[in-house]
């Protein structure tokens, strides 16, 4: 009965088709959507919440919630935008529940340039990433969401506005302020 040779992979299907199938209970179609969007959503949650466990929980809850709500999802927004919105809401709720202390290992010291080779450069890059991560965590949530969506995930202004339910000028303003703050935070690594 199983004739895998006859079926075509769903990996090349657009989100809209997969969401329509998943809404009717096609869990295989939903699995493709989960695999396709896990990485950016988990990244967003991780840099929003600062804890891997909380991030996993937030994204897992977001996907399960999406699966349950798909029959009512009328594709007014792109699946990706809808999914981002559910995840952002989930993260904001979790942040209200608890505010985790900053893990000490996230704050690395700037590399001392005693070696000119690539290990020193790699260490410097790690330090820069740690400094950026640290500065992100200290930034206002609204600014942080906009910066993550734009700079880490490459969303256009319009979609960021839809995800955060803000106007495009508000998004532009937040992104500008976020860039300024992060640029200043990176200054000691100059």
């Amino acid at each position: 009965m199983e004739q895998p040779g006859l079926t075509q992979p769903e990996g090349d299907l657009p989100d809209g088709l997969l969401a329509a199938r998943a809404a009717e209970g096609d869990d295989d179609a939903f699995a493709v959507l989960v695999r396709r969007h896990s990485r950016p959503l988990l990244g967003l949650a991780y840099y929003m919440l600062g804890s891997p466990q909380d991030a996993e929980e937030a994204v897992q809850d977001a996907f399960v919630s999406a699966w349950r709500r798909l029959p009512e999802y009328r594709q007014a927004a792109e699946f990706r935008t809808w999914m981002y919105r559910i995840t952002v809401n989930r993260c904001l709720n979790m942040r209200h529940r608890r505010s985790p202390p900053l893990p000490l290992d996230a704050v690395a010291e700037p590399a001392t340039g005693d070696e000119a080779g690539s290990p020193a450069r790699a260490a410097e890059e790690d330090a820069e990433v740690a400094a950026l991560t640290c500065a992100l965590r200290e930034m206002d949530t609204g600014l942080r969401i906009c910066w993550i969506l734009r700079e880490l995930q490459g969303l256009p202004y319009k979609e960021i506005a839809q995800v955060t339910r803000a106007s495009e000028p508000t998004v532009r303003g937040r992104l500008f302020r976020a860039r300024r703050l992060l640029k200043e935070a990176m200054a000691p690594w100059r």
């Binding site: 209970g25 869990d27 989960v34 896990s38 988990l42 640029k183 990176m186």
Partner: protein, 226 residues
Amino acid sequence: MALDDPNAQPSEPPRNPGRPDDPAFRDAVPLAGDQVLPCGRLLSQAWEQAQDGMPAADAHATSCPHCREAVEGLARLNVATRALRAKDPPGLRALADRVMSIVRAEVRLGRLLPLADTVLDLRIAESAAAKVMRQAADTVPGTRAATCRLAPAGEGTGVQVTMTLAAALDRPLPETVTQVRRSIIHAAGQALGMAVTTVDITVADVLEPFAPPAPAGSGPTTGGGA
């Protein structure tokens, strides 16, 4: 230089930055905390132009030393951002499996539909049968099924299928639809033992031709240009 000098920041940005001969920037409104570069453009504009391509870079942006300096101020941040972007967030590998194990435990079966067996009263869940129908539609070149609903047709064991699909426009749609209908009826009979009486098909979307992912490194080697 001017950027790093706090004294160079005007306490309030002027209302009408940009030069009069600079139409793209005449109406620009400064953002909160913005600053005016010595060339008259806003820092936010220089950044947006370089980082977001909005508006598209013009001759001024590529030649102006002040705009360039403003953009270079982000270089350090951009390096760290790129490195952060390349990192997989922790827990990524296990996430999809965990989500799907929860999702598969909450399976939505839909209604139960009769199979074409007059002796045994056999039934199949709509979601399982729909999956087979969609796969059957997908095997027709240039089509991909979207929704697929099934309902009993009358008193017997017949089943009515209602499907929406996306189809490519590289050949006449009636031809495509006929082929999809045939494929569905065949798969229903062969794979499920279900007697499909009618298949209502709506072409709800246009399918863009599939472009197989280009092999790495295959740039525009031939036929490039306008």
